[in-house]
Amino acid sequence: MIRADQQAPGPGRLGNAGWEWALIEFKSVTKTYRDGTTAVHDLSLVIPSDKITVIVGPSGCGKTTTLRMINRMLEPTSGQITWDRNPLRNIRKTQLRREMGYVIQSGGLFPHRTVLENIQTVPHLLGWKKDRSQGRAEELLAMVGLESRLANRYPSQLSGGQQQRVGVARALAADPRVLLMDEPFSAVDPVVRADLHEQFLEIQRQVGKTIVMITHDIDEAIKLGDQIAIMRVGGVLAQVGSPQQLLEEPVDDFVAGFVGKDRGYRGLSFTSASGLPLGSVQLVRDAASARTDAPVLVVDENANPLGWADRTRPGQVQMLGTTFEPDTDTMRMALDSALNSPVGLAVAVAQNGRFAGVVTASQILDQVRHLKASVADAIAARAEADAARVEAEAARKEAESVRQEASRIAADADAEADEAARIEAAIKAAEEKEEQARSAEQAAAAKEAATTPAPTPTVEPEQEWTWDPAAEPKVGRTDAGDAETGDPRPGDSTAGDSNAGDAESHYR
């Protein structure tokens, strides 16, 4: 493909293995716009593979500029950005962008294309076959949690949260290795956002992309980021590290302030009000019938709250303030409701508007304290989970090395066994040979034993021939003798004399 120096086909999908090379690296990058403003100043940052890096900072800190330099929507004025050690400048813009999914605030969907067509945009640009990209789009629709009946709708017919999901699906369509996200969740309301966060993390667990996200919301950064880079106005990197590092060891007041700013209060927006303990209060239909000093709530015939009975002016109704629905509203709305109630009680209503209960501001704050503790717990739990993951990884590696060792030993054993078998075979072969040799010997001995009388003809004829030298040539040329004479063998003792006589006659 485009990375000539790429060393492995499946780049770093398994975490640490890819950390060292499959990454995006900013090397002293500065971006100065034509009007002279410096958006990013001398930024050096390593964006690890398969992790979520969140760039966070106040508006004007250059985070958007930073993100846009990654897919060459903007070019650095100086410095260099590399992807897998390959300078971005060497990669064609359109090609680079098709390999990096991009999600922008409120989706940036094409209004003239249906949901399914929107998701297929990049596969279409890459020239995929129709049914392949269609199948992929349907798969992604399900992955981001959208029903298939929405497939043929147009973006304007979707809610903000649904559009955002389609935006994520579109970015993932061609299975890019990198996902760039420009404030992806800021255009949706807090409750939907919390949902999207959960789902986003779930998807990331499945797909394991290298994700760079920018946000101005430190809570979001802490919730989602594996690594967080905090930038300050002027485009200077203030600190980069894990969420815990930033919370526990902020390098300066800016980071400390940024991490700590409004955390508690804004955190309320992420939390459902459903856990609040609801108390009761006296209800009346007619404000005039309120007779106690305790707060009395006036309701209509459907038990929908109308307002508070005015203690100082009997029969009058005081404004209700806002109400909240525990199941769908956030803690922040509950607190608002308590703070703007004339009697200091937040009124909870059911979905149909009926009175459900009341809660005081201090009860809400108790719940918040509890929540803060649980946030700390969550961070600790996350750290623990990370540690557990690291441990698991180490264990896996160890298991792997043990397995390798085992297979090496097994291989050795195999080799030894082979050797042993070979030796055994050799021994056996040797033994067999010996056996053969022995049996051959025996056979020879037996033969020897069997032919012991025979030496007489072989020896004795010699002696005979010695005795009768005239016949001697016949001993060396038995066959010739046979052929010539057609006579029985020389060893045939019975013919001995006649042979001698023949031979004699021959040579004559």
């Binding site: 897919n71 929507m73 813009k93 359109t94 090609q95 680079l96 962008r97 098709r98 999914g101 991009y102 922008i104 605030q105 409120s106 989706g107 940036g108 969907l109 094409f110 209004p111 003239h112 294309r113 945009t121 990049v122 640009l125 147009y154 304007s156 017919q157 579109r170 970015a171 760039l180």
Partner: protein, 214 residues
């Protein structure tokens, strides 16, 4: 209204109507082809775009008679050539429609263009695949105005001897006889309304997203 005259002159009315349609609609088709690249170029001049659009506005205000006189000189055509009328109407329609193309391109939401760039559209593909389709509601609106005004304007061709529904007006005025004038007027109106309706239907069919969004 003299119905006898109408029934006796259906051939004349028919040919006048045919000539009129041809003369009105061909320039519309030509200017659709012309105004898209012109609009694209003008849009990309950025700061100069408004100046150029003002010039287009001025072109539209050139009296047609003046154009009919100048065009034969510029084109080398005969003074009575129907081409003069066609070219003049094409110039008017293009001036009108180019403006719509520019307006349409200006309407394309910035975040959509940015998203298109960010996910790897090249400039050409983005224009045909994103910018132009998203400009179409505005372009169609301009097209409807241009077509209707063209159908009305075509009658003037009779002044330089090119037949159209204007022929009927001419005849009626010359003879002090109103029936041909009424016929020409009503036909012109009906043709304009029908053309408008047809374009509207095409627009609805071609841009389902714009309809549903509305």
């Amino acid at each position: 209204m003299n119905w006898t005259w109408i029934s006796q002159n259906t051939d004349l009315i028919g040919s006048a109507l045919g000539e009129h349609l041809l003369l009105a609609l061909l320039p519309v088709l030509a200017s659709i082809v012309l105004s898209i690249p012109i609009g694209f170029l003008v849009f990309h001049t950025r700061s100069a775009a408004n100046v150029i659009l003002a010039i287009f506005g001025a072109i539209y205000s050139i009296p047609s008679l003046a154009l009919f006189v100048v065009l034969p000189l510029a084109l080398g055509t005969k003074i009575l050539d129907p081409l003069n009328v066609a070219v003049a109407l094409t110039i008017y329609t293009t001036a009108l429609l180019s403006r719509s193309v520019v307006d349409g391109l200006r309407e394309v939401p910035a975040d959509v263009k940015q998203a298109a760039d960010a996910i790897g559209y090249g400039p050409g593909r983005r224009f045909w695949g994103v910018d132009l389709p998203l400009s179409l509601p505005v372009i169609f609106a301009g097209l409807r105005v241009a077509t209707v005004s063209n159908i009305a304007l075509t009658s003037i061709s009779v002044l330089i001897g090119t037949p159209s529904l204007g022929t009927l007006f001419d005849q009626g005025f010359n003879q002090g006889f109103l029936t041909p004038v009424w016929v020409g007027l009503i036909l012109s109106l009906v043709v304009a309304l029908l053309a408008d309706l047809v374009i509207l239907l095409i627009q609805r069919g071609a841009l389902p997203w714009a309809r549903r969004a509305a």
